[in-house]
């Protein structure tokens, strides 16, 4: 009897508590949209200012130079995106790298296909034997806000160099289908989450994201950024290991430091973050890049370096470097181990310009011409006295990578590689060059792999 009363009391208490919880929860839930509406305030679209620009990093003799900018800012009215915004800007330019800048106002053109705002450089500047340097101050006049591109302004302006006597390499029309077989498959990882597998993620019928980047140690060991599984996997001496890492499934880039730690460029942040992770995957340090977008992350002689947009400059990427130093250190080329820089410009439909720059002057330059459209330059690395370039050749229905070995006289070696881009990765993380071997990260419906191609570049 007593036990039955106790059971009734317990049941009654549970029902009363549950009923009170349902009512309270419903009140909280109905309040939730109001909380959203009162969240962080919207940024007034009128205050937006951003820009885009492709610097003419390498110019040919006699080539006229027009600088074009897209200025991103809204117009007025009920639809602030109906027409071009009320913008203006000035380019500050000078021959070479010293002396005062001359201010040239941008003119507004009728078409925004390649940027609405433009200025033609005077021929005395465009044809200077020392090249020219410049920066732009761009304004959203309606809101009274402006920005400087590059962020370092006169302290680190854009740099354009003349390719006075380039080595001309004519590739002709690319013949798709004649690809070279790899010398070795050094990573062969099915999709999955176990050790030795790599993660694959995406919405049903949507973009599949796989391992986003990799890098190669001097001894040939491979580190793969397996963001879907939040880990770093290492292949070395025929064994695979993995450590949990502070990364997510976004499409991040990666650079491996000599001490085995790694730097990771964040694929989603504003501004993007560079994370420094220990060998055990733990976060050692993190700091934002100085501009809104990165295209590639590499390890240079002074630490990690990233190419960033809208400036397209290479900047120091180590989290410990203060932002002011990052923006004042921007440069047109990527610093190589011997202190020279490599500068790359893909222009037109099928033209690629590459230069090795020593003490601010082009030591060796190449103008590579293709009858087949050329896509992105995946790598441009010096190996001994030669330059190894991997660039994509494409049509509207086919694509292959092309590896070129160049010296001061021209093309000394060339082969094609299958593109193998079934799953998404970071854009310029598909190749790494270590020693005399070229490594490629690829993927298929069954998994990801890293192939090795040995180069004959010993001379």
């Amino acid at each position: 009897m007593e036990r039955s009363r106790r059971r009734r009391r317990l049941l009654g208490g549970a029902l009363a508590g549950g009923l009170a919880g349902v009512v309270t929860g419903a009140v909280l839930a109905s309040a939730a949209p109001a909380v959203h509406e009162q969240g962080e305030p919207d940024i007034a679209p009128t205050a937006i200012i951003d820009a885009a620009h492709v610097p003419p990093l390498l110019t040919l003799p006699g080539e006229p130079v027009t600088l074009r900018y897209a200025i991103v800012c809204p117009g007025g009215g009920a639809d602030p995106f109906e027409s071009a915004c009320d913008a203006s800007g000035d380019v500050h330019v000078r021959p070479g790298t010293t002396g005062p800048f001359t201010r040239l106002p941008l003119r507004r053109t009728a078409d925004s296909l390649d940027g609405r705002y433009a200025v033609d450089l005077p021929s005395a500047v465009a044809r200077s034997p020392d090249g020219f340097s410049y920066y732009a101050v761009l304004s959203n006049d309606a809101a009274g806000v402006s920005m400087t591109v590059p962020a370092g302004g006169p302290a680190a302006p854009q740099r354009s160099l003349p390719l006075a006597r380039p080595v001309v390499v004519r590739l002709g029309r690319h013949r798709f289908g004649a690809v070279r077989a790899a010398d070795a498959r050094v990573v062969d990882a099915p999709w999955g989450s176990r050790i030795g597998e790599v993660g694959l993620d995406g919405p049903p019928g949507g973009l599949e994201v796989g391992p986003s980047a990799f890098d190669v140690a001097p001894d040939g060991g491979i580190v793969v950024l397996d963001g879907v599984n939040s880990r770093l996997e290492r292949w070395a001496d025929g064994r695979v290991s993995a450590v949990r890492a502070d990364v997510d499934g976004a499409v991040d880039d990666l650079a491996l430091a000599p001490d085995g730690t790694v730097y990771v460029a964040d694929g989603r942040g504003r501004p993007p973050l560079i994370r420094h992770l220990g060998r055990d995957g733990r976060l050692l340090d993190a700091a934002p890049l100085p501009e809104r977008t990165w295209s590639q992350l590499r390890l240079g002689p002074d630490g990690p370096t990233a190419q960033v947009e809208p400036s397209e400059q290479w900047v120091p990427a180590a989290p410990a470097v203060p932002r002011a130093e990052k923006v004042s250190s921007g440069r047109a080329g990527r610093r190589l181990a011997d202190g020279s820089d490599v500068v790359v410009l893909r222009t037109g439909t099928g033209e690629l310009r590459v230069a090795r720059v020593v003490d601010g002057r082009v030591r060796t330059g190449w103008q590579i011409l293709s009858d087949t459209p050329l896509g992105e330059v995946q790598i441009a690395e010096q190996v001994g006295r030669r330059m190894v370039v991997v660039v994509k050749a494409y049509s509207d229905t086919a694509d292959e990578f092309v590896a070129l070995v160049l010296d001061g006289q021209g093309l000394v070696g060339q082969f094609a590689l299958r593109s193998s881009e079934w799953a998404a990765s970071a854009p310029l993380a598909r190749f790494r060059l270590t020693g005399h071997s070229l490594y490629q990260l690829g993927s298929t419906p069954s998994g990801a792999f890293v192939d090795r191609y040995d180069l004959e570049v010993a001379r």
């Binding site: 549950g18 309270t24 959203h36 977008t293 990165w294 509207d396």
Partner: protein, 201 residues
């Protein structure tokens, strides 16, 4: 005493967290009528798409505010019912290109970013040029606010990059969000070139 408290807590969780959903951003969106427009400039579209950047990704979604915070971050992917912030890839293109929900209508319609609309197109239908406003172009000549589409993804050119890649504005994935990212879609054979018909400048 413990049991009523326990059931109270469980009920609150079930109704508020579970029922409302941590990512119920759609409650903040509206369903206003689109405004007919006369003008479609590439840089106007560029700026419109810019408001979607940093606002998240929602599969099947199409509304966002402009506070640079993804209020649906961490939603379980592959589920339209999470009602998080942001568009998916094809929803972003549909709104940026000012398209009609009627596929035979090639006119211009402004959709406020907070208007919840995805539109009738998938990435594959953009790739195939389905619908009156949608055309195909050779990838080599694609410029600002033209796009690249595959069977699984579509993005718009924000600007070219110096090394042959493109800055693409895209709603890419739950972990990636919506952002301006450097991409190599131009050279990938899985992607075709697409263009909104009727740019006015």
């Amino acid at each position: 005493m413990k049991i009523p408290f326990l059931t109270f807590a469980i009920a609150i969780f079930a109704v508020s967290a579970g029922g409302a959903g941590a990512g119920n951003f759609w409650a903040s969106c509206n369903y206003a009528t689109a405004q007919a427009n006369q003008s479609l400039t590439r840089d106007g579209a560029q700026t419109y798409s810019y408001t979607a950047a940093y606002e998240g990704y929602q599969w099947g979604g199409g509304c966002w505010n402009n506070n640079d915070v993804d209020e649906g971050w961490g939603d379980p992917p592959q589920d339209v019912n999470t009602h998080g912030e942001g568009a998916d890839c094809s929803g972003l293109v549909f709104k940026t290109w000012k398209e009609s929900e009627n596929t035979s209508n090639g006119g211009l319609y402004y959709w406020n970013p907070i208007r919840n609309v995805h539109g009738p197109y998938t990435a594959a239908s953009f790739r195939d040029g389905v619908g009156a406003p949608n055309g195909l172009i050779s990838k080599a000549v694609a410029g600002v606010m033209d796009g690249f589409a595959s069977g699984t993804h579509v993005g718009l050119i924000f600007f070219r990059g110096s090394g042959g890649w493109d800055q693409i504005i895209e709603a890419k994935c739950e972990s990636c969000g919506t952002n301006i990212m450097s991409e190599t879609y131009r050279s990938q054979s899985a992607y075709g070139g697409i263009r909104r018909i009727g740019w006015t400048g």
